[in-house]
């Protein structure tokens, strides 16, 4: 427990340790701690940025979906409209076709009727001729009266 030169020795050792610590220990470790702090701060900032960007992307996606839905609706309504048009058109064309068929059928019927009339007329002539011949007997010259009858027939 005597005070002796150990006091000085200890002081010198202490100074040397302080110097060593100040020069070779503290600065590099402190530097690393500061670097890490900065790294963490950067990382957090990047995460924040990423989050923000994700939000934007989500908003954009929502918008795209919305637009797509609108377009789809439009296409559907167009298609419906077009379908109605086609149905209307086919109705019209069917009506036209029907009319046409009707007309041609009528014409044919008329033609047929005319033809039957003609035939009938010609037969009426010959029947009338035959009837007249029977009524008049044999005096009637077949040949002379045929022209007359023809004229008669054409007038019917």
């Amino acid at each position: 427990m005597n005070i002796n030169a150990t006091l000085i020795g200890q002081a010198i050792a202490f100074l040397l340790f302080i110097g060593f610590c100040m020069k070779y220990v503290w600065p590099p470790i402190m530097q690393a701690l500061d670097d890490r702090k900065k790294k963490i701060a950067d990382g957090l900032a990047a995460a924040e940025r990423g989050k923000h960007e994700q939000e934007l992307a989500e908003k954009r996606a929502q918008q795209v979906i919305h637009e797509a839905k609108e377009q789809a609706n439009e296409i559907i309504s167009q298609a419906q409209r077009r379908g109605n048009e086609i149905v209307d058109e086919s109705k019209d064309s069917a009506r036209v076709e029907g009319d046409r068929i009707l007309t041609s059928a009528k014409a044919e019927i008329e033609q047929e009727a005319n033809r039957a009339k003609d035939e009938l007329r010609s037969q009426v002539g010959s029947v009338a001729l035959a009837g007249a011949a029977k009524i008049l007997g044999r005096e009637i010259d077949d040949k002379a009266h045929t022209d007359l009858l023809e004229e008669l027939v054409s007038r019917i």
């Binding site: 427990m1 005597n2 006091l7 020795g9 200890q10 202490f14 340790f17 610590c21 100040m22 470790i29």
Partner: protein
């Protein structure tokens, strides 16, 4: 330490409290006066160590404190060499934990602006003092016995007269040596920051104004000198007392079986409590150093 027949409790305690002192050998004459022999060597008794005077050295204190300091610097230098800002290794993590703790303490207590010295100083003090105090937890007889037996085997020394004090901080030389360095730093920063005139004015004109200059000077000088003394002696006193309790507990082992088992319990209890003390004393030494150096930076 001595053989069963010659050992006494007080002799045992005294033996444990004596440093291994190297200096000029002294010899006691029959009339009780001491005279130097001109030879240099280790003191073989407490009286001889005292008679060696100032120019002798406590080899055990120096050896252990430098060893512990080197261990500390080796550890931190190893970390500092491989330190990286990426994911830290467990060792780096441990060192960083200590350094963050010191850094926060320094930031909390030191307001003197940018100073490259204070934080490394605080780290050195905290870890070094802690390690020196930690030696207290080694069983009191283990190292002294080993050194005594080793010295007698290697150099033929009488093991009864080989002293070895394991805890450097129970040597006032060690604690006062550190306190002196702190005192020197306080004076350095006082002169540097306040200037010679400013520092002397602070000593002369406070606290009672310029008309009470002599009283101020006496008061302030005492205040100034009390700082290193209280710093060094607080650590020394606490560690010395703690070591003394360990030694006293150790004397109980040879008393009887009952006392011996009681001593075992006491030693465990005191050791657990002592963990707190060694930590706290290291911390107090560090914080007071920071505060003193901070005060040297303050303008009044």
């Amino acid at each position: 330490m001595a053989s069963e027949t010659t050992i006494t409790t007080s002799g045992y305690i005294k033996h444990h409290l004596q440093n291994l002192t190297f200096g000029e050998k002294q010899i006691e004459s029959t009339t009780g006066t001491w005279s130097p022999t001109g030879e240099w060597g280790f003191a073989s008794s407490a009286q001889e160590a005292t008679q060696m005077g100032f120019w002798s050295i406590n080899v055990d204190t120096m050896l252990l404190s430098i060893l512990l300091g080197a261990l500390m610097m080796w550890f931190f230098r190893g970390v500092a060499k491989t330190v990286s800002a990426d994911v830290p290794t467990p060792v780096q993590n441990f060192a960083e934990m200590i350094i963050e703790f010191i850094n926060n303490t320094v930031r909390g207590s030191f307001s003197g602006g940018k100073n490259e010295l204070v934080a490394p100083l605080a780290l050195t003090i905290f870890v070094w003092v802690f390690l020196m105090n930690l030696m207290d937890l080694i069983p009191v007889d283990l190292l002294p016995m080993a050194v005594a037996q080793g010295a007698s085997a290697l150099f033929g020394a009488d093991p009864h007269h080989v002293y070895f004090k394991v805890v450097p901080s129970t040597d006032p030389n060690a604690t006062m040596g550190m306190a002196l360095v702190v005192f020197g730093l306080m004076l350095y920063y006082s002169f540097k920051i306040k200037g010679t005139a400013g520092f002397l004015a602070e000593l002369s004109f406070e606290p009672f104004g310029k008309w009470a200059l002599p009283i101020n000077l006496v008061l302030e000088t005492v205040t100034l000198l009390a700082k290193p003394f209280s710093l060094g002696l607080r650590l020394f006193g606490n560690m010395y007392a703690g070591e003394m309790v360990f030694i006293l507990i150790a004397t109980m082992y040879s008393a009887s079986l009952v006392l011996g088992s009681l001593a075992g319990l006491l030693q465990i209890g005191w050791a657990i409590f002592h963990i707190l003390i060694i930590m706290l004393q290291a911390f107090i030494f560090m914080v007071l150093t920071i505060v003193y150096i901070d005060m040297a930076h303050q303008h009044h």
